[in-house]
Symmetry: C2
Amino acid sequence: MLAKSSTELVRQQNSALVLSALRRHGRLAHTEISDATGLASATISSITADLERARIIEKSEQQATVGRGRPRVLFSQRRNCGYLITVIISSDLIQYSLVDYAGTLLDRFSESRGEGGTAAFLAAISAGLERAVERSRIDRGSVLLVSVSSKGLAHPSEAVLVWSPVFGSQPVDFAAALKDGWHAKVILNNETLLVAGALLERQVKMQGGGEPVLAALSLGHSIGLGIARRVAGGVPEVSAPNFGHMLHMPNGGLCRCGARGCVEAYAGFYAILRAAFEVPVDTIPAKFVPVAEIDKIATRARQGNRMAQLAFRNAGAALGYGLSRLLSLHGHMPVFITGPGTRYQDLLQAGIEEGLAQTHVVRLGGMPGLTVVPDEPSLVFEGHLNLAFSIVDQDIIGSRQSMQAAGE
Amino acid sequence: MLAKSSTELVRQQNSALVLSALRRHGRLAHTEISDATGLASATISSITADLERARIIEKSEQQATVGRGRPRVLFSQRRNCGYLITVIISSDLIQYSLVDYAGTLLDRFSESRGEGGTAAFLAAISAGLERAVERSRIDRGSVLLVSVSSKGLAHPSEAVLVWSPVFGSQPVDFAAALKDGWHAKVILNNETLLVAGALLERQVKMQGGGEPVLAALSLGHSIGLGIARRVAGGVPEVSAPNFGHMLHMPNGGLCRCGARGCVEAYAGFYAILRAAFEVPVDTIPAKFVPVAEIDKIATRARQGNRMAQLAFRNAGAALGYGLSRLLSLHGHMPVFITGPGTRYQDLLQAGIEEGLAQTHVVRLGGMPGLTVVPDEPSLVFEGHLNLAFSIVDQDIIGSRQSMQAAGE
DNA sequence: AGCTTTTTTCTCGACAGTCGAGAAATTAGA
DNA sequence: TCTAATTTCTCGACTGTCGAGAAAAAAGCT
């Protein structure tokens, strides 16, 4: 059933619109907000007055005015309206970043992730968050959102890691672990989902439109994939299908997930290693492979070693076939390749194209755009901020009583 | 960018809500509408008055009142507010149905689809529509929407068939063909997409919720797949991925689409025929296989013939592997199997389950529900009505001037 | 300095919509 | 005939958007 609407919801929607314009462009004057949102000047007056009363935005001290006329007053988010902590979990490190409500990075540090089970892991993260607020002497209560990212499968609605390379199908419940002590909301997303979201937002910013859908493919020890699309109304929608563990070949090589024949079992770093050294495909995969090891194989391949070349080519083919299936099931879209594996793009490319070329979608729609985007970490962080702030803004506006109460 | 909102949009949204409640439950009284939509009684008064003035709904003559109190006045759509024609294209027939605005079927007839190219085909459909309005003596101008369905790939936004079993990648542009002479809107959707939509709507009606996502798989000469999900706000979202021509096996059997190794090239009727008679897999597929032919193979399989059994088992496996990939890329969801191929379910089942069992998603989420739903044609028609009326209602409400003009 | 021009922000009244409360309508039963 | 029950309708309060024009404030010109 559809939802009913009301005048109050209209104000909420339009307030969100104003805040998102502020997010996109930074400080804006009254007229600029009006232009960006399409709302009438009078409406902007009313909304900004509300938001200012509620201590969400503030007039920033006006910069040197240029031109004649009444000087503009620029609005921007109140920095200490609240804070956001992003937690980026990788195979060896956990990186914490503290960001204020205006989006500026206040503090960042990393801790190596220890051994132990999920309980110890969650405790470590809890301690890390503690450390983050202590270092910056911030009130715990003013942390509005903790945004966590990891490889693996995140639950679509709750902050639970359903499957991960390290803990397997043992669930990791971030929401439960940070329930007491923190009244902040916790969200968890797949890392490559964030990359896809960041890439889409970049496209919107660059050319104000562009293709409304794209895929991000992250190559490394494991294989990640995110899809981002702008649906009707301009709202971005992101998802992270289980691409790395989609079936590539029935009864194929053993994968870290325990299944056989996954894409990752052919295209992940450990799989390339396994193939290059002609180890049987049902060998238990290596826990961790240093990049230097893969670099060596790549060098041999570039020098003409057939076995090394074949390992990369087969990895590429696994990706290519997988992508062809992705396009079949999600429609034609450009693919952006990122992650440490992009340095072997020259060795993978042929296999990828071979895998793609055969299928019906590609014959119909042509070869999809394949673009290498090297700087994955900053994309991940960007994705965190995009998603987190859209949620924070929504929440702040949604809790009307905060806007009323602060106003009296 | 998000869209701005206004009080007028609120009215539109709530009017749509009222109309959709009327669609779901048939005639409703003032209070019932209020209950169903959650809108205040006063709002219902205002909206129904508007819609009545605009000659979109009408008070139906009250039925025998039951109980005390002021008698209810029931609202329903004005039957002759407009008409809808559905065109269901199958491999040998084209079926036309004329439906009035209240959703009752006024007329239905079928014509055999002739030979010839796309131009002749479109001309035949144009003539068929002509015949539909003549038979019922209806004004062409009062046909609000023509809803066409076919197997194959429909363009996501325009009424163009991008690929079809019969015409291949030669595009069939319904919108262009019916541009002059008809001022009705034309929409085109994949047949199995409509089935998925109908199944979702049935679930909503039955248990007022249920799983928010499902897949419909249609087995026949070709393989169709539709996905339907209820997204935030309760709006249904449907899509028809190119499942039948997703890659099943690299360098595999020749498919009707010209590519090699598609799912259909193993699970379509012609593929089962090919496998049962041990014809080489690169044989040009048969144009059309009578069901009787496949029935014979099924009988042999049930009597113990190994080759026939294998043909079905391999078809099942192709479907199972395909479904496992579907679940990997679209998340876990129940699958409803329909189409003429369901009569061989006993022979396919083992292969399907074998194909599904191996993968990571299934290991994590368990075997998806596999339900056979036999009556495909009525699902297709239901899907047509659901989708078409939601569009028609939206359009009628959207064109405000019609509501104002009729009111003076 | 004082006036004009220009640009931006703010304010006011008109208009559209929803909601709650209670009035009006209408029937069944005492 | 009266009363209770039930539904529909109406009124005023409230929230929200919008256009027009007033007010503010700086730069340029005389």
